[in-house]
Amino acid sequence: TQLLEQSPQFLSIQEGENLTVYCNSSSVFSSLQWYRQEPGEGPVLLVTVVTGGEVKKLKRLTFQFGDARKDSSLHITAAQTGDTGLYLCAGTGGYNKLIFGAGTRLAVHP
């Protein structure tokens, strides 16, 4: 069974701070996706990483896919209150099924 361990589960920081969220697995994934979800809404896709070692940047967000395609990280620089939400990593397993991490609930305080 493929599993994705996501950490930390909760993160409470002040505006302007940096943070990193990690997703780790013993399994290889063909791709890995990061989503952000706000209360009352479905997850919104932030990025898909496909190639081992790949780094993608989305404004203040930097996503990295491990060389072996077993792990990934999301780094946010100078967090803003608008970054508050639930961040989910999801790896693509067999038959295009997504295996989700437990999620990281981020709260950014002014």
């Binding site: 063909s30 791709s31 996706q33 989503y35 009352g40 809404e41 479905g42 997850p43 919104v44 896709l45 898909t48 989910l88 999801a90 693509t92 038959y95 295009n96 099924k97 997504l98 989700f100 991490g101 437990a102 999620g103």
Partner: protein
């Protein structure tokens, strides 16, 4: 970006009743996934639906409880049958689009179900 809509957006239901959730997308999809997200939790896959064949259910989910229909390439329904309070969750559809040629999945806005 993809347009995915779900109906209803939320509902409050009585124990023992059933609710059918509709998922409509604006372009053809190859596969449709249905997920459940229990309060404060991450997403759990219920089943995978391909058009023209029966849905494939994950461990812990059965067709009698969560029947799925997929009559065409842009529409699918999930029914939550004989509901109990434990079924209170957000239910989300997630398609893979034919035109995009990748395995990236997008999500509908979800249906928030409360069972009393």
């Amino acid at each position: 970006s993809a347009v995915i809509s779900q109906k209803p957006s939320r509902d409050i239901c009585q124990r023992g009743t059933s609710l059918t959730i509709q998922c409509q997308v604006d372009s053809q999809v190859t596969m449709m996934f249905w997920y459940r997200q229990q309060p404060g939790q991450s997403l759990t896959l219920i089943a995978t639906a391909n058009q023209g064949s029966e849905a494939t259910y994950e461990s812990g989910f059965v067709i009698d409880k969560f029947p799925i229909s997929r009559p065409n390439l842009t529409f699918s329904t999930l029914t939550v049958s004989n509901m109990s309070p434990e079924d209170s969750s957000i239910y989300l559809c997630s398609p893979i689009f034919v035109a995009r040629g990748s395995d990236t999945q997008y999500f509908g806005p979800g249906t928030r179900l409360t069972v009393l």
